[in-house]
């Protein structure tokens, strides 16, 4: 049985004016995610990939269709579907350790266990020594490490990431990708990762879902049969380059379509 099933999900946004026409953001989308899969959803800006992820998280509602996690229908947000956002969403009034412990606290985990788990996760994402820092005192990469630890401390069934490294510089992004893969392999989590970065989508995933320009739909599914653990040197291998060339073609057509829609 698949872990996560996206079953004919669509999303239509109501018109902004009374006499306007509704906007179709997402065409009927169906796919399955197996347990411990690492899947990236690749698409041009505004294609509805974030909308799709938000529907899976329960932060947005599907107009039609449904999302099933372990056979149960998703009706709202919950800790079993942890999410890392593109914007830095650490609670600025909490220290790193208290941010990581936030979900545990909300779920009523006793304090002793909470402290143990949050310190453990803080160390596992490489932030030992920064426990008492406030988010403002951290770099962007460190903030996203904390956000990942905050989600994982909750032991979610699936981890949703919405362009989490989009605002980071290239070097930091590359490091974060390796960190994330490390964690994924150690913890054997199911991961759904949204990005518009072709290289990132290949490097991380076992399967890349390519989305079309708005209104979005899954237009291609590309298997990435490169063995884990992956090293950053993989990005210069011929197999990687071939995949990159193929996905660049797929995305380019969509990006041009999207650009035409915007200029007209």
């Amino acid at each position: 049985m698949s872990k996560l099933r996206i079953d004919g999900v669509t999303r239509t946004f109501a018109p902004s004016r009374k006499d306007g026409t509704p906007t179709l953001a997402l065409q009927p989308t169906t796919f399955d995610v197996a347990d411990n899969d690492f899947i990236t959803i690749l698409g041009p800006s505004g294609c509805g990939k974030s909308t799709l992820l938000r529907i899976i998280a329960g932060l947005d509602r599907a107009t039609e269709g449904r999302v099933l996690l372990d056979g149960e229908q998703v009706t709202g947000p919950g800790p079993e579907r942890g999410m890392v956002f593109q914007s830095y969403t650490l609670f600025p009034w909490l220290t790193v350790i208290d941010n990581i412990a936030f979900g545990l606290r909300e779920r009523g985990i006793p304090e002793a266990r909470r402290t143990g788990l949050s310190h453990d996760w803080c160390a596992r994402v490489g932030l030992a020594g920064f426990e008492r820092h406030y988010p403002k005192q951290l770099s962007g990469g460190m903030q996203q490490r904390t956000a990942i630890a905050r989600v994982l401390a909750n032991d979610p069934k699936i981890m949703l990431l919405d362009e989490p490294f989009g605002a980071l510089d290239n070097q930091t992004r590359s490091l974060m990708q390796e960190t994330l893969l490390d964690i994924w392999q150690r913890e054997t989590k199911t991961v759904l990762f949204v990005t518009h970065d072709i290289e990132e989508s290949i490097f991380l995933a076992s399967r890349v879902l390519v989305m079309s320009a708005r209104p979005g739909r899954i237009k291609a599914e590309v298997r990435v049969d490169l063995p884990y653990p992956r090293h950053y040197t993989l990005k210069t291998s011929p197999e990687f380059s071939a995949l990159k060339a193929r996905l660049t073609e797929e995305i380019r057509a969509e990006a041009m379509l999207a650009a035409r829609v915007q200029t007209h």
């Binding site: 942890g82 600025p92 009034w93 909490l94």
Partner: protein, 258 residues
Amino acid sequence: MPRPLEPIPSAARALLGVLFFVLFVLAWAWATLGGYVTRTFLADPFTMLREGYELLVRHGFLFDIAITIWRVVGGFVLAALVGVPLGVMMGTYKWVEAFFEPFVSFARYLPASAFIPLLILWAGIGEKQKLLVIFIGSVFQIILMVAVTVGSTRRDLVEAAYTLGAGDAGIIRRVLIPSAAPDIAEILRLVLGWAWTYVIVAELIGSSAGIGHMIVDSQALLNTGQIIFGIIVIGMIGLVSDFLFKAGNRWLFPWRLA
């Protein structure tokens, strides 16, 4: 020549701030001691200080000061106790906001001082009436500003909290309130400043003690020295309370400055 928005050293900042006070007093001394303004209308700085000393030592002015502070703090605390929770609820639940917002917006523009005659009818000229003036003057401002602050909490923080397993009560207690807390403290600091104007107005009418009462008494005696001393005392208390509030906020919300 300093450029626009260029920062200045903190020593220079303090010096410039003091300099204006000095210039102000000098101009005042020049106008009064030089005989350009009649003593009947404006006392000179030395007379003011002497009168102030007299007030404190001979007329028990400290008691008036204490009474006024108690009224401000009393009315303000009552307003905060009602205004902050209601404002938080309005900011959190849109239907609570829809219910109260139009009335509160209307009530905010009712001048507290215009209620004084009515409040005297209702509550007499005792402490209850003074507290009510300050309460009416402060509570609607607090409600509205707190509601706006809570309502503008970052959506992505709320969403992150939901995906971490927070329920509605957790969102209010551990996201909306801590996120808005520093701004709520700032709002209270601002409104406390306004409460000071209401208390003096309340004391000018039908009062037997307080700084405002002393000012009215001094006007009858044409003692401008005492009036100015009273005004300066109000300014000093305002400055001190403002400083304490700011220090308190820095201590309570270190993450804002970190």
